[in-house]
Amino acid sequence: MSKTIVSMDQVTIRFAGDSGDGMQLTGDRFTSDTAILGNDLATLPNYPAEIRAPTGTLPGVSSFQLHFADHHIQTAGDAPDVLVAMNPAALKANMRDMPRGSTIIVNKDEFSARNLTKVGYETNPLEDGSLESYKVHGIPLTSMTVGALAHLPLSRKEAERAKNMFALGMLSWMYHRPTKATEKFLTAKFSKVPDILEANLVAYRAGWNYGETTEEFSVSYEIAPAPQAKGKYRNMSGNLALAYGLIAGAQCAKLPLFLGSYPITPASDILHELSKQKKFGVITFQAEDEIAAVGAAIGASYGGAMGITSTSGPGVALKSEAIGLAVMLELPLIIVDVQRGGPSTGLPTKTEQSDLLQVMFGRNGESPVPVLAASTPTDCFDMAVEAVRIATAYRTPVFLLSDGYIANGSQPWRIPEVDSLPDLHVDFAKTQENFQPYARDPKTLARPWAVPGTPGLEHRIGGIEKANLTGDISYEPANHDFMVRTRAAKVAGIEVPDLVVDDPDGAEVLILGWGSTYGPVRAAIDVLRESGAKVAQAHIKYINPFPKNLGEVLSKYPKVILPEMNLGQMAMLIRSEFLKDIISFNQVRGLPFSTTELVEATLEVLNG
């Protein structure tokens, strides 16, 4: 049978199924194969909320969305072109995001009366006409998989488990993905269980063959590679990039890396990743709680390591007293906050940008801490290196903000040359007479980093106000005023790059973003400009201190739109510092902005 091949410029596919159906793995593999083909891409996994719900229920649905294209793209896409739904729950949970006319592929076998009732379908949507406006493919994925594996010595349950590979094979055929890498991956993964390996490989190929042979599908699609800068690429998620950035930063600074951490969603993967990297001399310490985690990191920094602690919002709250100590001690420390929905336990698996004011101000006293925010999954690498630079050069705790969206999302990453990474080496204080632990470098205002073990530098530090130069306890009013202002000046004086404005057309409206809104804003800008609108874009990655030119940039634009996944926290900082009437666009839905809503909001400002 000969099939039509259609060329497309981009596609968004969402794989959805039960937590146990392996949708994340399926998505990951499809992503890798897509990356190899040279498409640009962005991904968005969506885990069920913390607890694994019973099989087949709505709360148990797990999904993975992939957007890939023959051109540069910014987000995982607003609305999928294709949904692969492994059961009725997956269909029901995702239907509202599907635009009319889109393609829906379901595992027909799972649409039993029992499973339908479980999720509240009164009639079978595959039969009751409710999906009329969609291109629906009901395919018996389970039974075909089991059939394909009949020759193998497997229980039915074991055989069924390979159905995600059948689906992957089918989709790989449909979008002309190469299959070698996935076969290699499976071979490595299941090398110790040959029967399971065989099952997965057979199911994968069977799915591919099913696409190729059956009449169910008459068309397959081609998406040409995207033009990309020369280089070696890999697919990269935010948390992995962040962990790698920390390792790279510590190597650039020639410091051992010590992570003190307590597991918490969505930050735990940083702990997991670093705990694997013992060959870099990395020490990970899973502490009894967040306070001990940051405490141990401070202790390690005091001893001359790059002390780091990783957490999410509730953990930051607990660490705040100890971070205040680090401010007083003026020692390097990095606090990674992978933000999630709040307040309190909030929405642990969802994204939000609502820890900004907490990290700025959530400590007693005047307690300035530099704050950086990564903008995309791969930017997490660069900003982690920057966090190491600032922490070590200025001897200060540094907050590095990420969030659930970019932490779990991924995109292609051009692997940097190690030689291109900055030299971050700083000198420890050396043996000397009359050592003054609170004397300062005139340029950075950093105090000496005097690590135990250095003869002659014996000294005492602590959380009580210190006398200038000597670091002795001081209750002197004038000294306190001086030290409070000096600590503030040190942070205010940190060198950060200027804000870059993208404004080819001399726009009147600036969309200002920060953190993970980068992708959605960029996507909206592309759409707006295509439609002829003039809009400028600038993105804040350095929040404390702000880039020096921020005020000047703001003053150039009569209208500045600031979208945030909170109720206006960055807006508050900018309004108070620049007395500029920002137009806030806020959303607290636990989800990144969609391109459409940003475009609409901007058009409203442009037109009104």
Binding site: S32, G38, A181, Q228, F280, I291, A292, G295, G299, R460
Partner: protein, 332 residues
Amino acid sequence: MAEITLTKKDFTSDQEVRWCPGCGDYSILATMQAFLPELGVPREKIVFISGIGCSSRFPYYLETFGMHSIHGRAPAIASGLTISRPDLTVFVITGDGDALSIGGNHFIHALRRNVDLKIMLFNNRIYGLTKGQYSPTSEAGKITKSTPVGSLDTPFNPVSLGLGAEATFIARTIDSDRKHLTGVLQAATKHKGSALIEIYQNCPIFNDGAFDSIKDGDSREGALLHLIHGEPIKSTTHAVVRKADGDLEMRALSEINEADIVIHDAHRIDPTYAFALSRLSTNDHVLVGVFRDVARPSYGDLVHEQVDGVIAKQGKGDLATLLAGGDSWEIS
């Protein structure tokens, strides 16, 4: 270079000591300053980390590295330091409130992990620094600023709690007994891993005389039952014996046979024996010395063995290889 012998003076910092007149902390400080030269560790390799409390001022007065941190968190901070810098000798200085109230969690976790820390718990059974509230070791019924009709809490027994938390080394001693304190410091610093030293410390301002019954010149010899490995556990008037049902008890010497006195075994693996000892002290008769001292690898050693083991097997990490990963592609 010729070896330099350090003296007490070398370990005395230039900071004026600021405790109340008569505070037990003075003699602990003097003992420590006298002990450090004999420890044989260079000054720069010694670190004192304290929390907050009167006792936590201790590091300021020692010419070593020191950190006066925040309330209750010293064991956590010190853990990070000693794990990443096993070449250092790290002391934790803490009070009964600092260690057992706000810092209780870090305290028990440091002990179970056997982190290489010498934890000196200055137990004055009161919050000194905040001017006299009851503490987790205050006796029930105590009248203090925050308990004008008497406290209701059953106190912790720091030795029992430490044993419940899998501590490998626990000792008890007294502020004013420099010789005994020195002996305990010797044993603790020889021990690999966590060593908990409970020091009965008098606070003349807010809890004066808490330990007078065992410090009194006349009754002292009878009051203190010494725990010395391999020796019978007794004072001049009392001793520890095992009852018929297997339990330990403290009895007057006059009521028992010398031969029945329990011979102390600090190295017993099962902590039950030390736990039993921890329950025997009364107001007037107190067991002092090393309750337990058993070998277990220190946490820091385990961490470094693991790291070294991985490097031995896989080689040192190469950044370029890490960044490249296993699933990359080339665009040219």
